[in-house]
Symmetry: C3
Subunit: 351 residues, 3 copies
């Protein structure tokens, strides 16, 4: 591997290899060691699982860590628009931040959520793509405006761990939440299930569609793998025969950046909260969520504390999937090492 | 050891072993190494000594670190009430946060101060107990609403280092401070001195009692060790013949959550500030404080910069005591290692 | 080396040795390892390069890290005035914070910018000097109110890397910025170029002089090395024949602490933004900046993205210069190791 941006860009062979390796690691296999190499972790948003699992993976692989936080007390505010006149809040451009970090570390992992103000901007995934374009080293997406591929990889490993068949029925359902949330997780969940060839059902109320380009990629991937994609607001039909129910809340593209409109749109949808009743309509389905999850808002205690939930296994598989991903990425670097920067030609002629 | 919550729960044998080991480490003994194992550090409150000494201890023991901060830019806000409908500020429940971290690390150390709003809630020590209940791995208390056992262990080691006799007179005195502070340190200091069998005097103004259950535990421990506990507001009597004066400020249970009442209650108490005059009334006592300490508010410069103060040694012993504690905790884990989570039985029958 | 405060205090032999070692490291030389030793990093201000490069240097040298942040969620607010009655916001005095950290780590690196409120206070460099006075271990200045010596060392290495002759013309130019910034970087840049014996030109508008004591030290250093220092506001004269143009913005001493006056003073100076026009007036000069830099405010895109810019090399050399500095500092410690604190005499007689 050479970093990871969107799981949908990976071949099935790549994903199968990573999932198989994640399983070995979960079962106690020793990791390779890359002593002397360094992994950079750069967080612009809160994180529990992602921080903890990437730090832990680095420890297992013998990697030195460079850890940076955005926000107060962390790195400088980062501008990502080309040509910007930077007389506002941001003190540094990604055109400097990215190559500088690329000189310090061998692989850079970044978390940069959607800004949730401008849909056009969020759809360009500007901060993550700025780093990918300018870092000069492999970049791992720890959740961007558009994708959360490490979560998807861990979820794939979890489906295998719990013996949910590749052709089984997989329901991704919207849930109510007090705030509109970004689309990275539902985008990557849909992609993953389609890519795996599952019978994918996207269950959401009117107004809560995912972006057309995401749906289109999922359909292509489903077709290639022999799966299918159904979009519906018919809960009974979706849950009937399901082997996995994956809950997640997300904001409406119709209200992007307009909190008041969003809150009005979702006000009647508070009963979109996964309960035991929902689960009993399925075919002994597993309950999945990326975490963090708001109890008794997105899903009821009875489900999380009941026999359906595999959310803690999903979280554990973050560690194993990411260790596999980093192991593969650093191994590839070892095969074609970077030259010291001195070896870069210095311009002979200046104007 | 299997983590540590309240020093008062430990047997004298356990404490003596840890203190003896801390002394060896202070004198330069090599630590055991636990390469491949991981320690999680989770801070919900500010810290200088605790962060630095736990990070350093991890380095000495060869432990990989997973470091997380609460608050802006850190982990998600964590709910700890069972059954909560989580439509407020907190995005994650300790019922998920704890077991997830337990899958990533071998031992989890947590700092979670009293909220200082509801006394009933603080007395349940909810965040620390939530993590202890749900983490599935040993938990080390780096200061909770009720206890600061690592400070107490370091203080015990410091008393030995400075040859303050087990039966000597130990005064824990309240001091003025602009804000009401939690009881964790005075609770653990009282517990430690009683457990060590000292002639313990608790010197505090009216309204500043420690909780009855803490006093009761201290009396039981004192009795068991041949010590005693006297509670007084008579400063002369308390200081006479003392070998150690331990200053600390704390809030009044009578005003818990009511800042205005608290400030009014303590307004006449500003002269509760340890001075050379206080120290000269003692039997060449040592001055102790857990730090951070507000100079010329809790204690005067003349004491901290004079011959009485051993506060820097107390801080140094945090490192050695905690290294001993972690060494013992990881050694115990080595004797009964965790199974990979795959070995956990998957429910055969779902409803 | 024994830490580093101001590059101007170092002998030319020391600087040459560090720069030569930085070059070896940049070209791939192996570092020495100091396993079992610890480096403390304490940041009171934002940082990208400095955090990343010190973390990476520690990894290369096998050092355990103790990492602390000032501000919310980090260490306690730190008072530095002797004799202060600490009933305000700061909970801890540097007289405790420094020696405590000195007990935990072998070398302490600190970032503490100018407060930009009181010029008299900033000129005393109070937080950095408080730590240097009280830590009991070597202190590395990661940018203080007055100096940024690690940047200067990296810049010296960069000038060598790009074959800019020791006697070449070096222009340090003020640039417009929406806010007044501290003087640490221009102070250290001027010092470094003078110390190297360059033909140094300080180009700044009226009102933006550096402090007289900094100028005086630079003149002394220039004289000793056979260089010179010219201060001017004549841009044409300054740029003519220049081999390096180093841009930086800083605040006016005339308006220190008075934001409104400062903004008025600099309002007419917005065209102090380095453009291709500026660079074409030089003798094929390199463009330098410490980063972060505000694009199209301090310098135009055309310069940063053009053939002149060596700012990314400057940033990379931070890593190599600091690795050389730490290597030298830890090697010196190895030759005269600290005694365990137990070996420190305990006062025999207390009053």
């Amino acid at each position: 591997m050479n970093g990871l941006y969107d799981l949908g860009e990976c071949s099935l062979e790549q994903v199968h290899a990573l999932v198989a390796r994640a399983r070995e690691l979960r079962e106690g296999a020793a990791t390779r060691r890359f002593d002397g190499k360094a992994l950079g972790l750069l967080f612009f948003n809160p994180s529990l699982r992602t921080q903890a699992s990437f730090q832990r993976a680095a420890g297992k692989l013998g990697l030195a860590l460079v850890q940076l936080q955005g926000g107060a007390g962390g790195v400088w505010g980062i501008e990502f628009e080309d040509g910007a006149v930077m007389d506002g809040a941001n003190a540094e451009h990604v055109r400097e931040a990215a190559p500088v970090l690329g000189r310090f570390v061998d692989v850079l992992a970044i978390r940069a959520f959607a800004g949730m103000k401008s849909l056009a901007s969020d759809l360009r995934d500007p901060l993550m793509n700025g780093f990918r374009r300018h870092a000069g080293v492999p970049v791992v997406n720890m959740e961007s405006a558009l994708w959360h591929p490490c979560q998807a990889l861990a979820d794939w490993a979890t489906l295998e761990q719990h013996a949910i068949a590749p052709r089984a029925k997989f329901v991704l359902t919207w849930a109510w939440h007090p705030k509109p949330l970004p689309h990275a997780v539902p985008n990557s969940t849909l992609t993953m299930a389609a890519q795996r060839g599952m019978d994918v059902w996207l269950l959401r109320p009117r107004g809560y569609d995912l972006h057309a380009s995401v749906i289109e990629q999922a359909r292509t991937l489903a077709q290639r793998s022999g799966g299918s994609l159904t979009i519906t607001d018919d809960r009974e039909a979706a849950l009937r025969g399901a082997s996995a129910v994956y809950a997640k809340s997300w904001g409406s593209h119709e209200c992007w950046g307009d909190l008041e409109a969003e809150i009005k749109l979702r006000a009647p949808l508070r009963e979109w909260c996964v309960s035991a009743d929902w689960m009993r309509k399925t075919e002994r389905a597993r309950f999945m969520h990326c975490l963090p999850v708001r109890r008794n808002v997105v899903v009821r205690d009875e489900v999380l504390d009941g026999p359906w939930s595999i959310v803690i296994d999903q979280a554990e598989n973050r560690l194993h999937a990411q260790t596999a991903l980093l192991e593969s990425t650093f191994a590839a670097l070892e095969r074609s090492p970077r030259q010291p920067s001195n070896a870069r030609p210095i311009l002979e002629t200046l104007p």
